[in-house]
Structure formats: structure tokens, C-alpha cells
Amino acid sequence: MDLNRTLLAQRTRRQLFEDCGVGVGKVALTSLLVGDSLYSKPAADARGIHHQPRAKSIIYLFMAGAPSQFELFEPKTELQKLSGKTLPPSMLDGKRFAFMESFARKPPKLLGTVRKFAQHGQSGQWVSECLPHTAQIVDDVTFVRTVHTENFNHAPAKIFMNTGTPFFGRPSMGSWVSYGIGSEAKDMPSFVVLQSGPRGPRGGAMNWTSGFLPTAHQGVPFLSGGAPILNMSSPEGFESERQTVTIDAILDLNRMNMEKTGDPEILTRIGAYEMAHRMQTSGPELIDFSTENQETLDLYGAKPGEKSFANNCLLARRLVERGVRFVQLYHSSWDHHGGPGESLTKDLDEVCLSADQPCKALIMDLKQRGMLEDTLVVWGGEFGRTPMGEVRDTVGRNHHIDAFTMWFAGGGTKPGQNIGETDEIGFSAVKDPVHVHDVQATILHLLGIDHKQLTFRFRGRDFRLTDVGGNLIERLLA
């Protein structure tokens, strides 16, 4: 190579590495340098950037609307006993809730659950009758019962769970991960977002924004049902061979301009078109469930072509198989205030029915394929629900930020445990409180990233996902 070329190649790779989102680690750079085509090689190998990772990928089951821990995971004898009693007003001092006026005018009453609980598995975990399938995987799962957050409205709390701050414009966890360790997918984005249930997540794109990180790291929403990626299909009349021939012509002409101007950015664009072309071929294959056997489809309850959480869970496994780093599934709605469509009875039954079996299936399927070891599965909402009832058409529960339950499986977590303990009525943690930043720090840790070191300089400050907080949930680690 002459000097001009060498410089160019170096610059291109650096630029790619800076602008196009293939990782910041030295590892990422090295593997790029040995790659023959800029997009064909994984950006980072599986070594992570700060330490040996335990998980290669993450499937984050975001239960949008905030599930009630009291109906699902937290049996509280004392709360059952006190059901109907007014909460001592002193417990509300200094607390802020959504729909504050409903609590402020009249002290709310505690609410026991009508759901039956039983212990399950070797580990003897408590799970209610609402989730009979989840009850079967408790030995592969660890429950953290004391997660607490800072925002009590849906959109800000979701943004907090995803970006570590309630402020706008900060990058989401998936974007940080993509920025930090890049992608192993050769024909898929590194951060994919899926959605099911009656409505999309509140806040929409703010939940998977790349914020001030390069835009290439933003989450890419995949559609359920038809073609998963927007604009994945060639225009009518220009499909298959004609599309290939077209892209060839575009790239040849781009190369000619590259010779003329010497701008390495053109090489990046050529790489982007090559990958786009591969995505067009691999996209249909990704959603073609005919390659799955009936047993697997039945396990999930997946029906090809349907827009469902079951299909999305199966799709998530297939995405992870293809090297996608971060798959986030939003499933709605768990918002059970007691109003129409929000009852703790039939509406909760409905969402449980749609969510329960696919969760079990995902864990079992990953396990039997040997993928659970390096795939972290996270289950949880943006906050929890109050031990007090909230009276609307029926009695429901309000938003609660002081303690709620999440569960984790695979990806280097130690299964079959209970972490954290709440007080007798489940209001607050009495042992091992876990802040949202701790959850985020631990997720990054399992992916081989030190949350304190993954920073980005913007407006004069080094920002990170966990802001100025974050401690590892040590007991969760295997």
C-alpha cells in the first residue's frame, strides 16, 4: 500500500470505529483491522472490554405498566391480615405517588390479595397462581424483591430504567452496550426492540434513543407480523436479482467517486449497503418460523404471523442466535389501577395469560440449546404497585417506587435465589435494597463492562449509564 492508501485505510477504520458504532474497546479495533470486509466481522470478540463477560447477549422482558408484585411474587401474611385497614398516615409522610390526590384526601386502605400463593421448585420460591408456567422455572431464576426507583409516572420511570436518569437526551442501556462492546451480528443491528400487547411503550423512542452517543447505536424497532425491519423489502418490480444488480451498480459508481475524492466515508457507505443487502436476505429468514419444530412452537405458544409476546420471545431467541447483543421486548399492559381495563382480576389474568408461558418457554428453550449460560434474561417493569388499594371502578393498586420485584436468569447469574426482603406489608426494603442503578451496573458487569468505565464525554462531562451511582448485586452473580 502506498502511504495515501494506508492513511486512508487507517482513517476509515478509526472513523468507522468512532462514527459507526462498532465498539470502543481495543479488542474491537483489532478485530476490525483483521477483517477483510468492514461489516462482515464481529466488531468485538466475546472477551468484553473490561473483564471476562458472563453473558454475550441480553433479552430484556420489559413488562410495561408495572406488574403488581403482590399478586405475582410477594405473599405477605401481615398485609392479608391488615387488608381493609387504613395505612397509618405517618407512613405516607414525605412520599409522593401518582394520582396523589386520591391518597391525600383520604388515607388509603391496605389491600390483601385474592390470589393463592405456593412454593415451587427445589428452591421453594413463592409464585402465585397467576403465573403457573413461571412457577415451573423458578430454579433457573433469581428474584430480586427490593428493587426501588425514583420516578412514579410511567414515561419518566421507563426512561429512568432505560437511561439511568429521568432527564431526556441520555442514551439507553441497549445503546450503551452497543457502543461499549459492539455487535456480533453480521446482518442485524446490535440493539433490537420488540413490542406486543395492546399498546406500545409510553415514551416510545425515548426508551431506546442513543442520546448523545453515535446514532448507529439507537435501538431498532422490529415489527411483529410481516417484514420485521422497516423498508426491508425491495420495491415492487425491483426484487431479488434486480435489487442485487442495482446495488452492484451503486457500489461501483461509489467506488469511482472514492477514487476521485479519496473520502473514506464512502467506504463506510459501501459497507453499509453491503450489510443492508444481507439484511434483506436474512430478514425473511429470521421471521420464518417454519424452521422451528412444532414442539418449540407449542412450547412458546407461538403462531406464525401473529403479533404476540409468544412470537416475540421466540424471535428474541432467534435474534440472539444471530449475534444480536441486546433484545428488548416491551409487553403491555400491567397498569392495574382498578379502572376499566385495569382490574386486578380479569385484566391481570389476561396479561398473565399472554406473558406467562412464553417466559417459561424462553428460559427452557435457551437452556436446552445451551444458550442460557451466556444469555442474560431480565424480567421487570418500571416500578411496582402499592400495598394499599386504589379505588376506581374496582379496587386496584397505585404506582409504587419503594420496592418491587424483578427476576433474572442465565448469563452468569446464580439461579434459584431470593435477594432482598421487604417489610411485613411489602412497602419498603428491610434487607438488601437494590436501586435501578444497581440493576444497570450488574447487567453491564455480566456483559463484561465496568459501568464506571463506560463513559462518554458530552458537554464537558463524562456521562455514564449509572450516573453517579450503581453497586453490583453481588449475590446475583454466579
Binding site: 386520591s102 465496568d450 464537558g460
Partner: protein
């Protein structure tokens, strides 16, 4: 040398080493805990004296002996400490400290770190210097070139030659209007032999109504303009008149100081016009949370904070919001000062405080300015009165029903009747709004008369005429109290504050009113160094990709120093000297030899200056999201050139709205509105048009002063497959076919339309080969011809060729 700023002139190597390698790390990594404001373990690293004095563990440094210095032990983790706690420094950074201590721990000129007020270059008065002497005088076209050339000559680099005329007209058209030059315009420019041909081209473009659109869109990024409220529900709002105000103000070349004053405080000007009120939409572009059960005050405060943040970013280039929770860690901005600025924006008569849910909901968008025919408005008011009347009748009915509930509905097991009974038992003024609405729903289900009233009210509500409106600023007569929010928490009231500005900047005049109008005048006062610097830096950034100060949003101590400080000050002083005439400033830059250089990559210059900060050439820049659409629209001939008006709905891929709470119906426009410029596309914050977001359009959550410029496979998929692109390609093909009969001439035309130049021989033959191949493809499979929207194999092949053209890197790039 130009690139590191004057502060390092004539200093010893040791000082340079300290300034370049050590001081930045001290400032960014150490001083948060060991600085002026906080001295963890009693240690400050803010000056050499303090370093030598040390903290609880003893002196931090023994000059000359790195191995005996605690600082090094802590950095290397060889002792009990490992610093910084955020993670160890890079080995080469630690080595820099080692070298520094070994050479005596020499301190730089500025005695303290951080470079607080005294050392912060950007707050010092603008210093206008004469353009420097240069050798290659024949290259210079105006003073800008002296400054740039001096930098190049100091490094021994030649500037690039002027770009050819075709490149120049395409570049200037895209930069000033965001549209492609028409081939006839290109030919006219090429044929113009007058020496001022280029100057006249620039004049023509500056007069184009599309200039205001192009530069207006830049401003709308800063103004975080969008057509929806953000957060969860993300409902639609009406504020496009503000967008149009920006376009018109720029087209009319409103002086930039007035442009600022009207946006910040147009409503407070004496006898404010509608136009001046519309301008204040600038600070109504804040998000509004429509989620149920929110604390209205919390989100009002968020909006006010956003106004402070935006003011900092848009005019001052300072990260004011850093001081929301505590004093700024690096820059001379105290928390108190943050809340002083906050106080200016704290009196808007908008939704906040402790309101009933239903009252709050009805006030969400206020204050607004309405545009209705007086007759229609009168009709609306009378209908509203009628509703009030019906509602009070309904209230009376409800009271009656409540009083007789027990008789009318004896206890039983009907769930809703029992539910109503429970609520009725609660005294009326103790019921929550949710209980009230539940009760009303039950009453309506059970009592026909009640339901009738409901339908009557509903029918009138639906008949209320729609009156157009836009969001504006209006202050309360009684100002709200402003106070420090302890740790940024609005529920924790700290010291009271009055409206005021930053001590480090020119004083707020005693005679000026302590309101937004006073603030607006202060922002553009003659003594204000930041607004003109920040403004000209951003103008420069739009033309060259990066500003003279690369961190265009941070002129504080953590920002990068200017690459050409004297040029920045010259431009800033020129802006003020020319009465804030922006078009004059565009004229200056566009006519400079610096701007007119070719953009071809140069290995020789890159060796010395790899990121082209010295501007030995122009930069090739990918077009912005909207302009990519606009370029294709202008190439296709489909462009509907109308300026302004309500936002429009071009096609978007099915399913694009699925990923937010409310999947807003998106019915693609037919007719001219289908072909409007990208900036008029209805912009939803939570589900923006994918064609915009994929090409880095910001989602308007906060002020954005520079966009990313990414290059991704999803962009390729959009350009290849999006419905609009195919439509554009089909129209472009038609235009090309109409222009000439033979293939060779058509290829020529296609290049001239899209790239403003003829093809090279190689390009010509490559496209020719492609068209022949596609003709064969279509001819052998005639069924696909109609599917491709064509009448013949040849026509279909031309649509294919047009697709190629609008997918070229050069097409989406300004060279």
C-alpha cells in the same frame, strides 16, 4: 500552533507538558473530589501549593521523585489507594504524571485548576485583531482567508485549489437552500463570464425563500421544535406558526439580536404584535406530560429547567443545567445563579401547581394565541356558556340523585350501584377526581335523564367550531416565588432568589427590567461576548462540519479551545459591527477562498492535520435528514415549493407508529402536500418519521446544536426501498426520458440533474451497462414491468437507473 491557542506561546516544555497532558486530567478526573469546592480527605489538587501541602495522608507530590509521591502510588494502585475511583487512567496518562513529577511538578501560568472565570477565554471581551499577514496573498479573497491561511502557513500546508464551478453551485445551493440547482441554473452559471458570477450566485441564493427554510431548520433543532407534546401520550400540539415565524424572520434577514429578543420576550415588547407573540413559541417547545396522575408542578419545573438549559446552549454555549443540583463542577456557575436564570422563566402562566386532574387536563396547552374570525369566536363562546349551563343543571340533577339514591336503588348485589353508594357516602369535597368520574359514569348508565344531559353536552362540544391556535408565552401578573431547589429537587425549598444572570458575564443593567425582556436584551447586549461567539461558531459549523470551537455546546473550561481564536473573535465582532446582519455574515463566509476550496482528500495535509481542523480543504458532508428528501424531491421535479403552513403527512412505512403508547393514524397526503420539504413532515417526539430519525434528525427532547452524521445499513435500506424514494425515482426517470431521446444523452442528463455534472467516461459506461442489463431483466419477465410502475422494459430500466442515481453517496453528500 494555531490549534492549541495563544495560551501556550513562549512557554517551556515543562509547562507545555503540564498544560497539555496533566492539567486536563486534573480538571476532569480529580477535581470533582479534590478541588476548590470539595476536598475529600483534605486534599486539593487545584494548585501546586495545595498539592505539596497534601491532605490527611501527607503531601501528594514530592517534586522530582515520582516513586516517593503518593499521587503516583494512587494513580498506579501500588499503595492502599486506587485513583481515580471511576477507573484507572490509561498507562500513557500515568506516564505523563510520572514525567511531570520527575521534572519538578512544574505548574502552568494559570495558578489554579480549573481555569475558572479568570482563565475562561470565552467570557472575556471579544478582542478584534487585524487579519494576520500571510505569504500567499493571491489566494486571499477576504479577511477570513488571512486567518485560515496563517494557520496553514504556520504548519507549512498549502490550501486547496478552488472547487470547480459545478461543485460550487451544488455546494452553495445545498448549503443555502437545501435544494439542488436545476441544470439550467448550472448551465447559466457556467456560461457567466463576469468576474462576479459567483458573488451574484450567492446573492440569488440568499434571496431565495428556501434560504429561510434551510437555515430555519438549523434553528429549529436548537429550539427543540416538534408537533407533539412528548412523554407518554405525546398528543399533537399546534405550534407550526412558530416554525413559520423562524423561516420568515430569516428570509427577511431580521437582525439576529431582534431575532433573539422576539423569541425570548416578544410578548413583553410594548404593543406586542401577533407575530412577536408567535415568536415566543421558542420557549413553548418544551415537552408536556399528559400522563394521568402526574404532579403538574413537577413537569412545569422540568419545562422551566429546559428553558434554562436551552438558553445556555442556544446563546451562551454554557452547560447551565449542570448547576441545577449543585454548583457547576468546572465552570464559574453557581447553583444559585442557575435558579436566578430559572426565575426569569418561572412566571409563565402555564399548567403547574396543585390542580385537580380535570382542571389540569383542560389547561394543558395554555397559554395560547388564537386566530379566529370574531364571529366564529363569539359563537364558540356562546356554545361554551351553554355547556356551562347544562353542566350546572346536571350537577343539580346529580345532587338530587345522590340524595335519593337509597330509595331509588335499594341495596343489592349490583356491583356498580353499590360502588356508587360507597362514593356517595363520601362527602363531595373529599372525593377524588377519579371517584367523581366513576360516579358520573354509573349515573349515566343507570339514569336516562343523566345520560341525556351527557349526550346533549357531548353534541354541543362536537359542534364547537375549531379555532386555530399556537402556543405562546404569557407571564403571570403575580410572579411565582423562585428559590433554590435543594439538590435539584423542587419539593425541597432552599434560599429565595431573584431573577439574575451569571457573575462571570457582563452585569445585568440596573435600569433593565428583571424579566424575560431584560434577559433578552442582556443576551444580545454589546458587552455580551458569548452570544456573538456562539452564534458565529455555529454558522461556521454548518459550512465546514465542525465549528471553530469543536464543542459548539460547551464554551466552558471542559470545551475544546478554538482552532482559530482570532478568526472567531473577528467574525463575532463583525456580526455585532454589522448590526447583527446574518446574511452579511453568510456572504462573507461563502465568498471566502476558504469556503470555495475543493473538498478532495489530501494525504499531505492529513499527515499534519488528520481531522482537517486547519481547513486545508473543504469537508465533504452528508446531507441532513430533511435535505436528503429535499434533494430527491428537487431531482424528481415533484417538489411542492410552498413555504410554511400546517405540518404534512408524506408516506411512512406501515407500522412506524406502533412503538409508542398511542399509535397515531398516519394517512399519507395525496396531492402537493405529499411532496413538501422534509422540514414540514409532522414531527412526533415519541414516534418520529423513520426517514428523519434514521438520518440523525434529533427527536426534540432537548436543544440540539449539532447533529450526528451517521452512516448505517438502515439508511441504505431507506434510500433503496422506501415508498417515497421509489416515487421520486419514477418521476426522475420520467423527467430524464422526456429530456432526450437517446440513452447516452439521458445518462448525461441524469448526472446533471442529480450531481450537477456530466458523468465521467467510466461512470457513463457503467450506468449504460446497468440500464442494458435491466432492460433485459424486464424484457424477459414482462410481468414485472407493470409492477415496477412502467409501460415498457426501457421505462422500467430508467426507473432503475434513477434509483441508482439517488442512492449514490455523492447524491446525499455536499462535496
Amino acid at each position: 500552533m494555531v490549534c492549541v491557542g495563544p495560551v501556550l506561546w513562549g512557554q517551556t516544555d515543562e509547562v507545555r507538558h503540564f498544560e497539555e497532558r496533566v492539567r486536563p486530567i486534573l480538571a476532569t478526573k480529580c477535581q470533582i473530589c479534590h478541588g476548590d469546592q470539595v476536598q475529600t480527605s483534605g486534599l486539593s489538587l487545584a494548585s501546586r501549593e495545595e498539592l505539596l501541602k497534601g491532605g490527611m495522608r501527607g503531601p501528594a507530590v514530592v517534586p522530582g521523585s515520582p516513586d516517593a509521591s503518593l499521587l503516583l502510588a494512587a494513580l498506579e494502585g501500588s499503595g492502599p489507594l486506587q485513583m481515580p475511583p471511576t477507573g484507572p487512567l490509561q498507562p500513557e496518562e500515568i506516564e505523563a504524571f510520572r514525567t511531570w513529577v520527575r521534572n519538578g511538578a512544574v505548574w502552568g501560568k494559570a495558578p489554579r485548576v480549573p481555569a475558572a472565570a479568570a482563565a475562561l477565554w470565552s467570557v472575556k471581551p471579544i478582542e478584534r485583531q487585524n487579519p494576520p499577514e500571510v505569504n500567499k496573498l493571491e489566494w486571499v479573497r477576504n479577511p477570513i482567508d488571512n486567518f485560515v491561511l496563517a494557520g496553514l502557513e504556520a504548519e507549512g500546508i498549502d490550501p486547496s485549489p478552488e472547487a470547480d464551478r459545478r461543485t460550487l453551485i451544488r455546494r452553495a445551493s445545498l448549503d443555502l437552500t437545501g435544494l439542488l440547482p436545476d441544470p439550467t441554473e448550472v448551465r447559466a452559471f457556467l456560461a457567466d463570464n463576469q468576474p462576479d458570477a459567483y458573488g451574484r450566485l450567492i446573492e440569488r441564493l440568499l434571496e431565495s425563500p428556501h434560504y429561510g427554510e434551510r437555515w430555519g431548520r438549523h434553528w429549529l433543532d436548537i429550539a427543540r421544535y416538534a408537533d407533539t407534546n412528548g412523554y407518554s401520550i405525546d398528543g399533537a400540539r399546534s405550534i407550526w406558526r412558530y416554525r413559520d415565524w423562524v423561516i420568515n424572520a430569516l428570509n427577511e434577514n431580521m437582525p439576529f439580536n431582534e431575532f433573539v429578543i422576539e423569541q425570548v420576550a416578544g410578548d413583553l415588547l410594548p404593543d406586542a404584535t401577533d407575530s412577536q407573540r408567535i415568536a415566543t413559541g421558542f420557549h413553548r417547545n418544551t415537552m408536556i406530560n399528559q400522563e394521568g396522575g402526574i404532579d403538574f408542578e413537577q413537569y412545569r419545573v422540568e419545562a422551566v429547567v429546559d428553558r434554562v438549559r436551552t438558553t445556555g446552549a442556544a446563546f451562551l454555549g454554557l452547560t447551565l443545567a449542570c448547576a441545577r443540583c449543585h454548583d457547576h463542577k468546572f465552570d464559574p456557575i453557581s447553583q444559585k445563579e442557575f435558579y436566578q436564570v430559572f426565575a426569569f422563566f418561572n412566571n409563565v402562566d402555564e399548567l403547574g401547581g396543585n390542580l385537580e386532574e380535570s382542571v389540569g387536563r383542560s389547561r394543558m396547552m395554555e397559554p395560547i394565541l388564537e386566530f379566529g374570525d370574531p364571529e366564529v369566536m363569539a359563537k364558540r363562546d356562546s356554545l361554551r356558556e351553554r355547556i356551562d349551563q347544562l353542566e350546572s343543571e346536571q350537577d343539580a340533577l346529580q345532587a338530587n340523585l345522590e340524595a335519593n339514591w337509597g330509595q331509588q336503588f335499594p341495596p343489592g348485589d349490583d356491583e356498580s350501584i353499590e360502588r356508587a353508594r360507597e362514593i356517595i357516602a363520601i362527602p363531595r369535597d373529599e372525593r377524588s377526581s377519579i371517584q367523581n368520574s366513576v360516579l358520573r359514569r354509573i349515573l349515566s348508565d343507570q339514569v336516562a335523564e343523566f345520560k341525556e344531559k351527557n349526550s346533549e353536552i357531548g353534541a354541543i362540544q362536537r359542534s364547537i367550531p375549531n379555532i386555530e391556535w399556537t402556543m405562546v408565552m404569557r407571564d403571570l401578573i403575580e410572579p411565582r416565588d423562585s428559590f433554590i431547589h435543594v439538590q435539584g429537587d423542587f419539593t425541597r425549598r432552599g434560599e429565595d432568589v431573584e431573577p439574575g444572570t451569571l457573575a462571570v458575564l457582563p452585569p445585568f443593567p440596573d435600569t433593565a427590567p428583571r424579566n424575560r425582556l431584560g434577559l433578552a436584551h442582556w443576551l444580545v447586549s454589546d458587552s455580551q461576548p458569548l452570544t456573538p461567539r456562539v452564534t458565529m461558531n455555529r454558522v461556521w459549523q454548518r459550512y465546514f462540519g465542525l465549528g471553530i470551537v469543536e464543542t459548539e455546546n460547551d464554551f466552558g473550561s471542559q470545551g475544546t479551545p478554538p482552532s482559530h481564536p482570532a478568526l472567531l473573535d473577528w467574525l463575532a465582532s463583525e456580526l455585532v459591527r454589522r448590526d447583527w446582519n446574518l446574511k452579511d455574515m453568510h456572504r462573507l463566509i461563502l465568498n471566502s477562498a476558504t469556503y470555495r476550496q475543493a473538498s478532495d482528500y489530501r494525504a499531505d495535509a492529513a499527515q499534519v492535520d488528520p481531522s482537517n481542523r486547519l481547513l486545508a480543504r473543504q469537508n465533504r458532508l452528508r446531507l441532513e435528514a430533511e435535505v436528503i428528501r429535499d434533494a430527491a424531491l428537487s431531482a424528481s421535479g415533484l417538489l411542492a415549493a410552498k413555504v410554511g403552513g400546517p405540518s404534512v403527512y408524506p408516506p411512512q412505512p406501515a407500522g412506524a407508529g406502533q412503538f409508542t403508547q398511542v399509535d397515531r393514524k398516519w394517512k399519507a397526503d395525496e396531492g402537493p402536500d405529499r411532496y413538501r420539504r422534509g422540514m414540514y413532515t409532522f414531527f412526533s417526539r415519541s414516534a418520529a418519521h423513520p426517514g428523519l430519525v434514521l438520518f440523525d434528525a434529533p427527536i426534540a427532547q432537548e436543544s440540539v446544536t449539532r447533529r450526528n452524521r451517521s452512516n448505517t445499513p438502515l439508511q441504505a435500506l431507506t434510500l433503496l426501498n422506501d415508498e417515497s424514494q421509489t416515487e421520486f425515482a419514477t418521476a426522475l426517470a420520467q423527467r430524464v426520458r422526456d429530456s432526450a431521446a437517446n440513452r447516452s444523452e439521458r445518462i448525461q442528463t441524469a448526472f446533471e440533474i442529480c450531481l450537477a455534472r456530466p458523468p465521467t467516461e467510466a461512470e457513463h459506461s457503467r450506468l449504460d451497462r446497468f440500464i442494458a442489463r435491466m432492460e433485459d431483466e424486464f424484457a424477459t419477465d414482462p410481468e414485472t414491468i407493470a409492477r415496477a410502475g412502467a409501460d415498457s422494459a426501457s421505462d422500467a430500466a430508467w426507473t432503475a437507473a434513477a434509483r441508482v442515481m439517488i442512492n449514490l453517496d455523492e447524491f446525499v453528500t455536499r462535496q
